[in-house]
């Protein structure tokens, strides 16, 4: 079973994510993944997320694969040119890591090595084009491959981007470039998200709604202020503000959102952002079961 089979099935797909360690100790990452064993269809593995240097995503994916999980290789264009991007994707595929999520990547300046040189030889759309070439048997320069990767290719979209029109134009480019599934930036307004889905439905791609569990009203306000493309509605913030146990309230908010949108989209992507232990609680509260049982068999 694989993410691809989950996406091909008519069932609601559940993905989450883990981050590689800063260092060589993968214990904590594997513990986080263990909490989600049998509860999700696949686990994204972030790529030097927020431009903060960490262990190689491919190495982390291999650890997870060996532990019986189905990893999604996040690939950003920040740190590698088109040669390195292709060779990494081929290398990962040779280990059976065939779920790829193409991203442009945060700017180096926002990370922990702000003086590094950002590469951006390609961006997400061009990376998707290059991946499409690889899966059809040639590299980006048209040279034939010996051993062709069979990849499940995804991308991201921000349904609440401001302004929206340029974001949607880019979404359509990503669809044309071969992305078959999309994980969205965190969304909180079910009605607005259903509006996005009415539009996105026309493109024949799977869309997993992005969920970030709010742990306090302060976190919601911080995200509204600092995280591009996130709009936590005032009603949600006041609910967290009034709650005796804001973490439980945040889980309820996430569960209610899932229930409000589950008929309009194809699944959810739950981002833990440092609170991996909360992910199973969200799954319980929303009564979510994975479409596949990939991660149960070690």
């Amino acid at each position: 079973m694989s993410l691809r089979e989950a996406l091909d099935s008519k069932r609601f797909v559940i993905t989450s994510e883990v981050g590689p360690p800063k260092g060589t100790d993968v214990t904590e990452m594997l513990e986080s993944a263990e909490l989600l064993r049998g509860r999700v269809d696949a686990l994204n593995v972030t790529d030097n997320q927020a431009a903060v240097m960490r262990m190689s995503t491919i190495a982390a994916c291999i650890h997870l694969k060996n532990a019986g999980h189905d990893p999604v290789l996040q690939v950003t264009c920040r740190d590698r040119n088109r040669i390195a991007l292709q060779s990494d994707i081929l290398g990962a595929a040779s280990f059976g890591i065939t779920n790829v999520l193409a991203l442009t990547g945060d700017h180096v300046v926002v990370g922990d090595h702000p003086e590094a040189k950002g590469v951006f030889d390609l961006e997400s759309v061009q990376l998707l084009d290059v991946i499409a070439a690889l899966t059809s048997g040639t590299d980006a320069a048209g040279n034939e491959l010996h051993g062709v990767p069979d990849l499940t290719v995804g991308a991201v979209v921000t349904p609440d981007a401001k302004p929206l029109a340029p974001q949607l134009a880019k979404f359509e480019k990503k669809v044309r470039a071969g992305a078959t599934y999309f994980q969205t930036q965190a969304v909180y307004d079910a009605e607005s998200f259903r509006g996005f889905m009415e539009y996105a439905r026309g493109f024949g791609v799977k869309v997993l709604a992005g969920i970030v569990v709010l742990r306090s009203a302060g976190m919601a306000r911080f995200m509204n202020k600092n995280i591009p493309g996130i709009e936590v509605p005032g009603s949600v913030i006041s609910q967290l503000d009034g709650a005796e146990d804001p973490v439980t309230a945040g889980i309820q908010v996430a569960a209610r959102f899932v229930n409000d949108v589950r008929d309009s989209c194809d699944g959810v992507h739950i981002m833990a952002v440092g609170a991996e232990k909360l992910v199973p609680r969200v799954l319980d509260a929303a009564d979510l079961r994975p479409a596949t049982a990939t991660t149960e068999a070690v």
Partner: protein, 218 residues
């Protein structure tokens, strides 16, 4: 024009403090317009260096002169530097390089070369061109994504755009501006055309450009 900015005085002082006689050379074209390499700036920098070098216990004489353009041999030939043991250029990187090639003594840069830009007000310039060698402005409503986007990416805004502002927070998102300008022309459909990856070899293959040299038609 080439937009330049004076280096920190400590950095300049460290470059010249071990010399006896240093000639400051201004450049009356871009650097003068950028208020960093004109006659006034040469005089001011010379005064500052007299102070800063003497504070470090050195005794350095500073001469001052102007060239019309440091990047052209016919002007550089006019330079009279025989009495000096080093030259401090208040020109862009190309000016420093041609002086260094032409003068048989150490040549130091007093400026940092920032970008090719356009004036946006009094003493204010906007980076507009990265000299990439394969211009895309015809596809992007005259706004350069290679230069104005912090990531230099093609094909639309990244996920970092927030209310039309770049994720670095210090500039408008070039890809939002491109969309708005195309839309104002009724050309927003063009936004949907995927731009191919840049041919980065153009710059590498063009270490110099001699219009007289025979070249295969492009």
């Amino acid at each position: 024009m080439i937009v330049v900015r004076q280096k920190p005085i400590d950095e300049i002082t460290s470059m010249v403090t071990h010399h006896r006689r240093v000639l400051l050379v201004g450049c009356n074209t871009c650097a003068a317009v950028a208020l960093a390499g004109g006659e006034k700036e040469v005089a001011t920098l010379a005064e500052l260096l007299r102070l800063s070098t003497s504070r470090r216990g050195s005794s350095v004489d500073f001469g001052e002169c102007m060239l019309q353009r440091q990047c052209e041999p016919e002007f550089v030939e006019e330079l009279e530097s025989e009495e000096y043991d080093a030259v401090l250029s208040l020109g862009c990187g190309a000016g420093v390089a041609l002086l260094a090639e032409s003068v048989p003594k150490p040549v130091y840069p007093a400026l940092d070369t920032l970008f090719i830009g356009a004036a946006k007000g009094l003493a204010s310039w906007q980076a507009e061109c990265s000299a990439c060698g394969s211009c895309v402005l015809g596809r992007t409503a005259g706004i350069c994504p290679v230069t104005r986007c912090a990531k230099g990416i093609l094909n639309g805004p990244c996920g970092g755009v927030s209310d039309g502002t770049c994720e670095l927070g210090d500039r408008p998102c070039a890809w939002v501006e491109i969309y708005e300008r195309l839309e104002s022309f009724g050309l927003e459909q063009e936004y949907g055309t995927t731009l191919e990856p840049k041919d980065n070899s153009v710059r590498i293959r063009t270490p110099k450009w001699d219009i007289n040299a025979e070249e295969e038609p492009r």
